[in-house]
Structure formats: structure tokens, C-alpha cells
């Protein structure tokens, strides 16, 4: 079939030979591979994009950064033909695209790799890669060329997955790579990646950057959306900052510092992101875990958690951090181990028991899958964990509403319409609803599992301040995070896990990126202080 060739973009020679890009401004639209002119989009009365003109050049990696709700995803969805703009035009190689639909943009080689993975869980990797574009021989599927092609693209993205495995059985990072492979199985002229590294380990992300650079070298225009400024800085040729649906600035990457990017995005600098660490060491353990094992995930973990402490858990994805705390909380069965709460040995029979009898709460990492019923409104989500507080049998809706409004104010949750499902809130506001939900039970021990995944810098800073304030009040906080900056900036003490075991406990000056990574990757062997 004709579309089977992997990425052999034909470049218009005039563009290839003009190296100095003028990446912004209306006059540039005609020159790029893909461009949007005065693109605006309103949902009802809310304007989410305000007359954005931006073009993307072949062979260039163009990053779009901005807080959640700044309009990045909406903008690229318009470029990919998924959403219709309220006004404005899309240009492809200098020609205006009339009535851009998803199918039409795909035929032009525009590939969008979604933030939310768009794969069918019950189909195999192979079936997913060619979904809707299967190679056929007469009425039958032509397996052999598809297998060959699939193996090739998977190898290209460095994914070592079995073609015949169901996508639902894959780890999330494998799913992400499958999604990328799917986009690359057809010819690409423009590759749009919406937060592609959110679920990847550092190694997988590095591999992805190499692939992206290869594509750029081959002349593909790359649009890259990310929250991670380090990788944007490292990867991109051009950086565009969006704020509140407006284009704030487009610069060449060499001409802008991360601090300036943050300032443009939110109007605050990086140093202000983390609150000062204030902690006195001579506190008692509020919880102690001894020799806890979770079958298949955690082996023989022992640690203590002190009053008023922020304890970080670092490690690679899959090291067993989440499973350890799910085991402690009674969310997952454990094979052995004892838990002491305030010096007394206890048994958390299940999560409701841990929560009510021991005031220990867990904030799940998967916001939409475990944290929120996305079809419920914010208030119903807010009160779900603490519903007992609002009545043993009947729910006192007046008290519930009052408590919710209180939380909305305290957590500064922005909710345009209180009756709308939380699926329509931005990621940052969704996360605030989950936080409010956890705090509604007034826990003494709080486990934050990836508390700032996929949310904007402004909300991050807010969440950090919140965690620090909790600790200052004498609550004990555990922060599980794959973002080292966060672990280092926030935590009083850091425990590193590798391959289902606790391998290090670091304090004070020991807490550094190098030190953590050496334990996390096994360069340094177990050391427990």
C-alpha cells in the first residue's frame, strides 16, 4: 500500500535552503510546512485561543509551552483537524487548507500523538498500529508486510514489545511508544507530540529525543508540547509561550533562559517554586514499616516516617514505590510485614480502615483512573472520600456544599460551572479537586503519589506550598515522584527504591540529583543511614 513508507518527506527545496527561520508573524505562514493564521477558538462564551498566528518549519523542532489551560492542546488539535477553529485559516506548504478535517490533515502527513493515549486496549500492538489503515490483499488482511513494518517502526522508537500482545497488558510507557510507532507507520510531514514524556523513564525519554531529532533531520516539522522546561530547552529550536490563549512570545531556543520561560508563562521565577525547608529532626516516628513485602513488587521494605516530615520516595517507574504504599494502606494485599502507628503494632485490614482508624490517606497517581469519577461534578468528587462526615446514612447536602465551597476557596479551584463534570476541568484544577478530597478527611499521614504530574507550573508551586504547610502543621507527608527537581526541592529526607527494594535513605546534603540517580539506577549499591 502506498502509505507504508516510513517518513520519507519530500521537502519543498526553497524552504530547505532557507535556514534562517522567521517563526512568527503573519507573513511567515506561507513558508512553513504547516501554519495557522489568526486562529481563534471559543467554547461558548469562553475564548481559549485568541488570534494565534504561528508557522512550523520543516526540519525544525518547535516547542509550545504554557500553563495548563493556556490553549496548547486546543491549538494543536485545530492544526491536526480534530477541532474546528472559530475563526482563522490553516496553511499547508503555503496553500490554505479548505475545511481541514482529521482525515484530510492525516492525508497531508500531519500526525498528532495524543496526551491521552488513543489506543484500543483489547487489540494487539500490531492491530493498533495499523488500525484503520490495514494492508489488504483482496478481502483479507495482508499480515506479512504489516508485521515487517510494525517491527521496523517499533525498533525505531526503541520499543521492545511483542506485536501480538494486547495493548491493555502493556506498561504505560510501552503504550506511549506504541502510540508513537503508530503515528510513524505512515509518512509524516508534521509530527505533533503532546506531552510525550509524561509517562516515560529518563532512558525512554532520551531515546525518544533521538528519534525526534532524526525526524527533524529528515525534514519533518516537529511541534512539541511539554511542561518540562529542561527538555524543551535541550530539544527545541524555537519556543513559543502561550498564556491564557494568547501568544506571549516566540523565540529561538538559544535566546531565552528557562527562568525567562517560566516568567513568561506564569510571571514568577523558578526559585519561588519551592517553599523553604523547615524541619526539626528530633521528632518521633508516627509510622514505622518493617520488612514489608508485596508479591511481585516490593521486597522487605523497612522505613520510618516522622511527625512533620516530608519524606520523598525516588526511583524509576516500576521500582515498587506505588505498590509499597498501596500495600501499607490496605489497597493491595501484602505477603508479610508489620506496621507500627505511634509505636503500636497495627494491621490495616483495608483502605477504609487505614483511613478512619489511622488517619492515613493516599493520593493516587492516576488522576482520571483512580482519583476522580470524571462524570461526577466537583462537589460529589470532593466529598466521596469523607462522605461519612456529612452524615452516617443521609448526606446532609447543605453541610456538604458549605464544606465544598470552603475547599474551593482554600485550594483556589477554578470551576466555571459547578454542575459540570470534572472531566471538563483543566488538569491542574482536577488535581486540586483530588487534593481537596484527600484533605477533607483531615489525615495525619498523607501519601502524595506523583502530585504534580501533567499540571502547570503555577499549580505546582501552589501544591508545594500546600504540602509544606501540612508538614509545618505536624502532619507527615510522603511524596512519591519521578521528577527529581520536586524531590530535591521539597523533601526533608529521600528514600530511593530500585527493583522492588529500598536501597538508600538520604538526608541533608546527600540529597542531590547525582546521588539519587546512582542509587535509582544501581550504580551505587544499598546504603541505609
Amino acid at each position: 500500500m502506498p502509505g507504508m513508507e516510513v517518513c520519507t518527506p519530500s521537502m519543498p527545496p526553497d524552504i530547505q535552503s532557507s535556514p534562517e527561520p522567521a517563526a512568527s508573524g503573519a507573513e511567515a505562514v506561507e513558508f512553513g510546512t504547516l501554519g495557522g493564521q489568526e486562529i481563534s477558538k471559543s467554547f461558548g462564551p469562553v475564548a481559549v485561543l485568541k488570534s494565534i498566528t504561528l508557522s512550523f518549519l520543516p526540519g525544525r523542532i518547535h516547542a509550545i509551552v504554557g500553563e495548563n489551560g493556556a490553549g496548547k492542546s486546543t491549538f494543536v488539535k485545530i492544526l491536526a483537524g480534530i477541532i474546528k477553529p472559530s475563526s482563522g485559516q490553516i496553511f499547508f506548504r503555503g496553500k490554505q487548507v479548505e475545511n481541514p478535517t482529521l482525515r484530510l490533515m492525516e492525508d497531508l502527513g500531519v500526525r498528532l500523538i495524543h496526551q491521552e493515549l488513543n489506543l484500543a486496549n483489547d487489540l494487539t500492538v500490531l492491530e493498533n498500529i495499523f488500525l484503520g489503515r490495514e494492508a489488504v490483499k483482496g478481502p483479507f488482511l495482508d499480515e506479512a508486510p504489516m508485521r515487517r513494518k510494525a517491527r521496523e517502526v517499533l525498533a525505531r522508537v526503541g520499543a521492545n514489545v511483542d506485536l501480538d500482545r494486547k495493548v491493555g497488558d502493556l506498561r504505560i510507557s510501552e503504550k506511549q511508544l506504541t502510540e508513537i510507532a503508530k503515528a510513524l507507520a505512515q509518512e509524516a510531514t508534521v509530527l505533533i507530540l503532546d506531552e510525550p514524556t509524561a509517562v516515560l523513564t529518563q532512558r525512554e525519554a532520551d531515546r525518544l529525543f533521538q528519534i525526534i531529532e532524526q525526524f527533524a533531520k529528515a525534514g519533518v516539522a516537529i511541534i512539541y508540547i511539554s511542561h518540562r522546561l529542561e527538555e524543551v530547552k535541550r530539544l527545541a529550536h524555537h519556543i513559543t509561550v502561550l498564556r491564557d490563549g494568547q501568544l506571549v512570545a516566540t523565540r529561538n531556543a538559544g535566546e531565552i533562559s528557562p527562568d525567562e520561560i517560566v516568567r513568561l508563562m506564569v510571571g514568577r521565577s523558578l526559585q519561588d517554586l519551592f517553599p523553604k525547608k523547615a524541619y526539626s529532626r528530633d521528632q518521633k516516628n508516627v509510622m514505622e514499616v518493617r520488612n514489608l513485602s508485596v508479591p511481585g513488587h516490593v521486597t522487605d521494605a523497612s522505613f520510618g516516617l516522622k511527625k512533620g516530615e516530608i519524606l520523598g520516595f525516588a526511583g524509576l517507574v516500576g521500582a515498587g514505590r506505588t505498590e509499597l504504599f498501596e500495600g501499607i494502606m490496605g489497597l493491595r494485599s501484602i505477603s508479610s510485614g508489620t506496621i507500627f502507628r505511634d509505636g503500636k503494632q497495627v494491621k490495616f485490614s483495608d483502605y477504609p480502615h487505614a483511613l478512619r482508624a489511622f488517619r492515613a490517606a493516599y493520593l493516587p497517581e492516576d488522576r482520571k483512573g483512580k482519583g476522580l469519577v470524571v462524570s461526577f461534578d466537583a462537589r460529589t468528587n470532593y466529598s466521596l472520600l469523607a462522605l461519612q462526615r456529612f452524615g452516617a446514612c443521609f448526606v446532609n447536602q447543605a453541610t456538604e456544599r458549605a464544606s465544598f465551597l470552603n475547599a474551593v476557596e482554600r485550594f483556589q479551584i477554578k470551576i466555571p460551572d459547578r454542575s459540570m463534570p470534572v472531566s471538563r476541568l483543566s488538569g491542574g484544577n482536577q488535581q486540586k479537586v483530588v487534593l481537596a478530597k484527600i484533605f477533607a478527611i483531615d489525615p495525619e499521614i498523607i501519601v502524595f503519589d506523583e502530585p504534580t504530574r501533567g499540571i502547570d507550573v503555577g499549580t505546582k508551586a501552589q501544591i508545594y506550598r500546600l504540602i509544606a504547610a501540612m508538614a509545618a502543621e505536624g502532619k507527615s507527608c510522603v511524596v512519591i515522584s519521578s521528577e527529581l527537581l520536586e524531590i530535591i526541592g521539597l523533601c526533608h529526607r529521600v528514600i530511593v527504591m530500585r527493583a522492588s527494594r529500598i536501597v538508600a535513605s538520604l538526608e541533608g546534603d546527600e540529597i542531590s540529583e547525582d546521588e539519587i540517580m546512582m542509587y535509582a539506577t544501581g550504580v551505587k549499591q544499598a546504603h541505609l543511614s
Binding site: F43, I83, R356, Y362, L372, S375, T380, L384, Q388
Partner: protein, 342 residues
């Protein structure tokens, strides 16, 4: 219409449809069953003025009571994301046991009233127990509720045939005489079954909308993982939903036994489908997570009314009853679809 579908497909986080259309679609979905009900009443009245006579209306309500009461329990099961196919067979099984108990006690010298009351109590106990069995198998047994209740449906049905020895169990005439008033008597000119239905509906509505249990049912049906991580004992909620269903089936059977005074292997056949239809026509999502008790009752009334209207008129053959019901189900599903947002 096209843009509304695009919203579904694109999973964008913000509303994209016009507010007017959204309101209309939402209103149509919410009030759909009531509108359908009113239309049927109008049609019935225009075809035959006797339709609105108190006799006919109370007849319709009384006959809706069985399916209506069962569908209240069905609402809870479906809202929690499960299904119960065993209710018809369960009703027949409960009816058989009640008849056996009543006849036996009456013959062994109990007063007729005592025998009837003991029979009713045993019916409720069996209904609750059947709910526990279904619930345990569907949760602790980790079998999909569809399969569990498909299995127990077969078991209940076959047990009825077994205890009736392949024939019909009949209530002794003296017992039946004592039991009759439960179905045939009225209070304030309203038949007893209608009173029972009303009480069940009110309690069910309050339980689903005003209590912690109701909130948990919706959460479990929407996303059981989230419920698990919200410290909700998902298993308990699911079992309780089945027990509520078992209780409702027993209650309906208590009213059904004095009506016919007999039970056989054809008792309650297809009640499960009628109950599920009533629930779905009433606007409860079959995939769980949202539902309303009053809607299920409206659904049950719609089903009865269709039969009633076809009986009162001769324009459409009574034999097409099922076809008309089918069209109503499809219409309800279409309404639900058009207003569903992600």
C-alpha cells in the same frame, strides 16, 4: 448533530455544543420518560375515552406494581454497573416456596392469618437470601453478574419445576381466601399494590439520591477503581445492591401470589427483561453510574400502558405489543445517546 458527535469522538475537555442544544438534549433525556408517558395517556384517551376512567387507571397501576417494584431494585443493581437476569425465575421460586409453606402450615393447624404471615415472611427471607447468593458470586466469586444471574436464573427456574413436580402449585382455597385482600383490597380507594409501589418508590428515590449508600452506588458504577481509592468498600455496595433487588422481588411476589393463587414454571417468565427495559427506558444508564428510581417506574408504566392501549383499541394488533415496546426502548436509547457527553 454532527458537531455533537464530534464532541464525543474528540474527547475535548470543554463543551463544544451550543448551550441551547445541550439544555434541550439534557431536558429531553431527563423528562423523556414523562413525556412518553403523557403522550401514551393522550393517545389512549383519544382512542377510547374509557381509558381515563378510574377503573382503568387503577388497573394499569396495579398491574405495573410487580414490574415497578422489581425495577426499583433493578435500578440499584444497574446503577452499580451490574445486571440481574434472575429476577423472573427468582419470583417464581419465591412464589412456589410461599405456597408450599402456607399450605403446609394451614394444614398443620395454624390459623389462616398466621399461615399467610409466616408465608410472607419466608418469601422475604428467601428473596434476601437469593440476593446474597447473587451478590457473593458476583463479587467474592469474581464472576460477571451477567453470567452469575444467568446461572441462578436457570437454577431457580428449574427448582420451581422440581418442587411443582412439573405442574402447578396451587394455594389451598381457604388460605387464598385469607390472602386475597393483600392484592384485591383498597385503602382510600387505591389498591394495596399501588400503595406498596408508592412506598417502595419513595424509599428507593430517597436511598439513591439522599443517602451515602446511593452516592456510593453511583460511584461504584461510574468507576469502581476510583471508588476503591476513595475508601468505598466496593464489594459491600455491590452485594447490598443485589440484596435490595432480592428484597424487591420478594415484595412483588408477596403481591403476586394472592392474585393468581398459584405458581408454575411459567410464572414470572420474561419479567427480568421487562424490569431491565423499565429501568433503561426510565433513563438509567445500562453501563452504570447514573440512574433514577422514578424513571424506572415511569418505564414500567409505559410498558403496561402500551399493552393496555392495544387491548382497548383495535387499530394495532395486540400481537404487536412486543414490537411497540421495542420501538419505545429504541427511542429511549436514542434520546440517551444524543445527549451523552464524555
Amino acid at each position: 448533530m454532527n458537531s455533537a458527535q464530534a464532541v464525543d469522538a474528540n474527547s475535548d475537555r470543554r463543551p463544544q455544543t451550543e448551550p441551547g442544544w445541550r439544555t434541550f438534549a439534557k431536558g429531553a433525556q431527563t423528562l423523556g420518560p414523562v413525556i412518553a408517558l403523557l403522550l401514551l395517556v393522550l393517545i389512549g384517551f383519544s382512542l377510547n375515552p374509557n381509558f381515563l376512567s378510574w377503573n382503568n387507571l387503577s388497573n394499569v397501576l396495579t398491574r405495573s406494581a410487580f414490574i415497578g417494584i422489581i425495577s426499583v431494585g433493578g435500578t440499584f443493581v444497574i446503577v452499580t454497573g451490574q445486571i440481574d437476569l434472575s429476577v423472573g425465575a427468582m419470583a417464581a421460586f419465591i412464589a412456589s416456596l410461599m405456597i408450599i409453606v402456607m399450605n403446609h402450615l394451614a394444614q398443620s393447624g395454624w390459623s389462616l392469618t398466621a399461615a399467610v404471615i409466616a408465608g410472607m415472611v419466608s418469601g422475604l427471607v428467601v428473596g434476601l437470601a437469593a440476593g446474597v447468593v447473587n451478590g457473593l458470586l458476583a463479587t467474592k466469586g469474581r464472576i460477571d453478574s451477567f453470567i452469575v444471574t444467568l446461572g441462578t436464573m436457570g437454577i431457580f427456574r428449574s427448582l420451581v419445576t422440581f418442587v411443582a413436580n412439573g405442574g402447578t402449585l396451587t394455594l389451598n382455597s381457604n388460605v387464598r381466601e385469607a390472602y386475597r385482600p393483600v392484592f384485591y383490597n383498597s385503602w382510600l380507594n387505591i389498591p394495596i399494590p399501588v400503595w406498596v409501589l408508592a412506598v417502595v418508590v419513595i424509599i428507593g428515590t430517597i436511598a439513591l439520591t439522599k443517602t451515602r449508600f446511593g452516592r456510593y452506588c453511583r460511584a461504584v458504577g461510574s468507576n469502581s477503581e476510583v471508588a476503591h481509592y476513595s475508601a468505598i468498600r466496593v464489594t459491600h455496595i455491590r452485594i447490598i445492591a443485589f440484596i435490595v433487588q432480592g428484597f424487591c422481588v420478594a415484595l412483588a411476589t408477596l403481591l403476586y401470589v394472592p392474585r393468581l393463587g398459584s405458581a408454575s414454571s411459567s410464572t414470572g417468565v420474561l419479567w427480568e427483561l421487562e424490569a431491565i427495559t423499565a429501568v433503561v427506558v426510565g433513563g438509567t444508564a445500562l453501563r452504570g453510574g447514573s440512574g433514577r428510581v422514578w424513571g424506572s417506574i415511569a418505564g414500567a408504566l409505559i410498558l403496561t400502558l402500551i399493552g393496555n392501549i392495544l387491548n382497548l383499541t383495535s387499530i394495532i394488533s395486540v400481537y404487536l405489543n412486543g414490537a411497540v415496546q421495542g420501538i419505545i426502548i429504541l427511542g429511549a436509547a436514542l434520546l440517551q445517546r444524543s445527549s451523552r457527553t464524555r
